[in-house]
Each structure stands twice: as C-alpha cells, then as structure tokens.
Amino acid sequence: MSSDFWIILTACLVAALNALLGSFLVLRRMAMIGDAISHAVLPGIVIAYFLSQSRATLPMLVGAAATGLLVTALIEFLNRKVKLQSDASIGISFTFLFAVGVIMISYFGTNIDLDQECVLYGEIAYVPMYNIAVGGMDLGPRQVWIVGSVLLFSIVSVIWGYNRLAVTTFDPEFAASVGINVVFWQFFLMGGVSLSTVVSFESVGAVLVIALLVGPAATAYLITNRLTPMIVMAIIAGVMASVIGYYLAKYLNASIAGAISVVIGIQFAITIVIVSIRRRYNRLKYEPSQNAPV
C-alpha cells in the first residue's frame, strides 16, 4: 500500500471518530468543553509517551484520556462550587493544563520523540513510518489500528446508548424525571471525547482536533432534520474534508492537518451561504400568501 493511502485512511478514521462524538457536543452546546478537553489532555499524553517510551500504546492513551475528565471536573468545580462564571472556568482550566503539557515537552521532549510542532498540527505525514508487524507480516501503521479500534468502540457505544444520549441531550430535565442518570451520560460522552482527542493527537495535534470535532457536525446540523442523518452526514463531511485536505496540503506543500481544517471551514461556509440563500428564496416564495387576505 502506498503511504498516501495510509495517511488518507488515518485522516478519514480520525475525522469520522471526531464527527461522531462532536455531533453530540454541538447539540449539547459543549463545543468549548470539547476545545478545553483537547488542549488539556496534553500533559496526560506526554506522561503516556514518557512511560511507554516514545510511541504510546493504547492502554497508555486510555490513561491519558483521564486528563480530559480531570479538566471537565475542574471546570465543573470552579463553576459550581466556587461560582466562577463558566467562560472563565473553561479558560483558566485548559490554558493551565496545556501550558503544563508544553513545558513538559520542552524539558523531556527529546527523550520521547515529541515536539511542539506535533502538538500544533500532529504528524500525520509520518503515520506510515510506524507500522505494526505480527510474525513478519506487515499489518499497516499502528496509528490506523489505534484510531480504528477506538472508532469501532465508539460506534458500538453510541449505538448502545443512543436513546439515552439523545434524550439527555434534547431534554435533560425530562430525562432525569424518567430516572435516567443525566450525569452518567454526560461523563460517558466526555470520556469518549477525551479518548478521541488523545488518539487523534498524533495525527492532527491537540489544537486542530477541535476543527474535526465541531466543524463537520456544525455543517451537518445546518442541513439535516434528524439526529441519525446528522451524525452520518457529519462523518461523511469529515471524511470528505480529510481527502480534499490531504491533496490541498500536498499541492501547497504544507501541513495536512492545517489543510483539513481549512477545508472544513470552507465546507461550512459554503453550506451556511446555500442554506441562507435557500431560506431567503423560500421566504420570498411564501411572502405573497402571507400578505394575502385570509
């Protein structure tokens, strides 16, 4: 297989994973919590890399995802217990953890093959350099296996908890009134987002993953009327952006993750313009009937 194929495949898997979970974040108005998580997992990732020497293994990454839950707990604590306004609670918490992560990299980054560039936009171009081989057989890049297995696990989990996730997202008070544990499902989702930002880290870095979480979901949200189609469409949009982004980056000789984010932005811009024009057109069409005598 060519390295182009593996890079595109990895990008698509990462995009699909983040679009799946990001759809719920967008609907829950928790996009910025997602942003906070994606920044805050950095120290966890550095420790995971450190402990497993160079490339982190999946169990290590699962551990790193705990930092994501830690930051949600910290935000909640500042907001609820200390009564600090929510935007400031988010801002303080994630910038602190992210800064700690960058400092850790500066001090022992060279030992663990992590640098500041990777934090910013990942190393998806290097994905084909780290392959897994079992009994002499090349099974492809380990990143594909890691992201792929987390994606599979996430899809199964979301299908398993679909109704509860939907109801706690739409109407948490009603959900609580029928005895659903709203807090559990909140943490269920946050745990998923933490894990997905951690495993996406090597590919797209800690900062650009938020484009993949929020962008395709926002685009899908503009065009669909039901939850399942929205999620499917978000995944399709994410995959599309990955493929186009890859070739854009190749053409410009620039960062792949950066290019994917830009394509996601263009996708959204085109969608919002079309949706607005269509809405205006529809309004014009119906205007006369509204003014007509009843």
Binding site: R29, W160, N163, T169, F170, E173
Partner: protein, 262 residues
C-alpha cells in the same frame, strides 16, 4: 387555608429547596387529592417549577420529603409523568415530532430495548389525542409554540402514567391549543388521572381547576378552588414577598450559615 387530605396522591412534607443559596421554596407542607385537576399558582420566581422538579426528584430537597402515591418517587417513577416548560429545551434539535414523543416510550423500556409495535401504536394514539398525528414527521423547529406544547403533551401521554406534572402548559400557546389542552386535561381526569398544572393566568384558573395550590416561596394556601380562590389569599400570594423572610434568606447566604443545623 390549607386543607389536608387522607390518603393523598402527593404528600409534601416540610420541603425546602435552596438554589444558589437562595431558598426557592421554604418549608412547604401540603397534601393533594387523587383524580383532580390541580392548579399551582403564584407570581414569577415563587418556586412553582422548583416544586414540580422537587416532586420528581430532579432537584434535591434541602429539608423535608415528598411522597407520591404513598411511596418515594424512585419507586413510582413509571407512574408519574413530568412535562417541563416548553422554553427549557432547544427546539432546533434535529428531531421530528415522532422522535420527541417516542422519548416517552423509552422511559418505560429496559435500558436499551427497541420500540415494538405496541409502543408505536401508543405513540400514534398519543399524537392523535393532541391532534398532532399529521405533524408526526415535521421537524420540531418548524412547529408553532402551541404545536410544540402539544408535542410535549403527547410525549407525556405516551408514558401512560397516572399522575401528570405539567409546568406552564398554557404559556405562549394560541387560544385553540389552550382550549384543546383543557379538553384533554378534562378527558384525562375522567380516566382517573391526577393532574398538577403550573399556571399563571388568574382569570382562567377558575374554569380549569378544582383544587388550587397558592405559592410564593412559602405555601399560602392549598384546598378546593371554591375555598382558596379568595381575594385575601390571592392578595397574600401576589402582594409581594415577605420582607423579613427575604432578609433572613440573604443573611443565610451572606454569612454562610446552614439552613438547618444537625
């Protein structure tokens, strides 16, 4: 005027709920009769919504307890349906009317079961009862306020409960929806359901309710409409807050004092 009931369907005992260190309801104590349409009235911020949420256990009580049909709410959840305020949710959510009503069925299901044919016919029935069947596939953001409210009521009907707690079902709905909801409530009462309805319009209250709970952080009255719908009691309810009570509440907050000492 607080009338006590033997074998009440809902019993609230010394209930206090503090929100953000401010008492939303303070030491409330009443009993409600079965099978009636009961109105909960009071000015804005008087704790009406909090009362419903506390009965459902959605918010925690700081003191006191609630019993529904003689039991703790956890034991009877499936028999109680709660209709939150329409404005409490984001109607841009990507769902159809059918999806929303189906949520009422999932409430009764074991954790992750799918809907079966029975469930689907209940959903259909519920939609028909509120005249929303033709809108089943309509995206919820395209509904009018009245239609949104009907969708919420259909979801409650789909739960097939015995006791219904409704938060401001008449708020911001058109006249025809209001009339339709009233007819629905009367029909439900005939079927033996108990309905606890938060309401804010004094003019219509007399026509809608048989029993009235008047609330203004404290309980002012609870009893049959004819005895409670009384100028003095209504003035007491709507005639401003108790200044002393407010001052004490502020002191509790300012000095970090506990409401109750163990």
């Amino acid at each position: 005027m607080i009338k006590e009931i033997k074998e009440p369907v809902i019993e609230v005992h010394n209930l206090t709920v503090v929100y953000d260190r401010k008492p939303a309801i303070w030491n409330i104590d009443f009993t409600l009769p079965k099978g009636q349409i009961i109105g909960v009235m009071g000015p804005n911020g008087s704790g009406k919504s909090t009362l419903l949420k506390a009965i459902m256990g959605v918010v925690n009580a700081n003191t006191g307890w609630v019993k529904v049909a003689g039991e703790d709410i956890e034991g009877v959840r499936k028999r109680v349906s709660y209709v939150p305020q329409r404005q409490s949710v984001d109607w841009d959510f990507p769902a159809t009317v059918w999806d929303v009503v189906a949520m009422g069925r999932f409430a009764l299901k074991g954790v992750f079961k799918k809907l079966n044919a029975d469930d689907r016919s209940v959903i259909e029935e519920s939609l028909k009862k509120v005249n929303m069947y033709t809108f089943a596939n309509r995206q919820i953001s395209q509904l009018s306020g009245g239609q949104q409210q009907r969708a919420f009521l259909a979801r409650a009907l789909a739960q097939e409960a015995d006791i219904y707690l409704m938060d401001e079902p008449f708020a911001g709905v058109d006249a025809s929806t209001e009339e339709a909801i009233v007819q629905l409530l009367k029909q439900m009462k005939k079927e033996g359901k108990t309905l606890l309805v938060v309401h804010h319009d004094l003019h219509t209250a007399q026509n809608y309710f048989e029993w009235l709970v008047l609330l203004n952080t404290r309980l002012v009255a609870s009893g049959p409409l004819t005895e409670v719908f009384d100028t003095a009691l209504l003035e007491d309810t709507y005639g401003g807050t108790l200044t002393t009570l407010t001052k004490v509440a502020e002191l509790l907050d300012k000095n970090d004092m506990p409401m109750r000492h163990k």
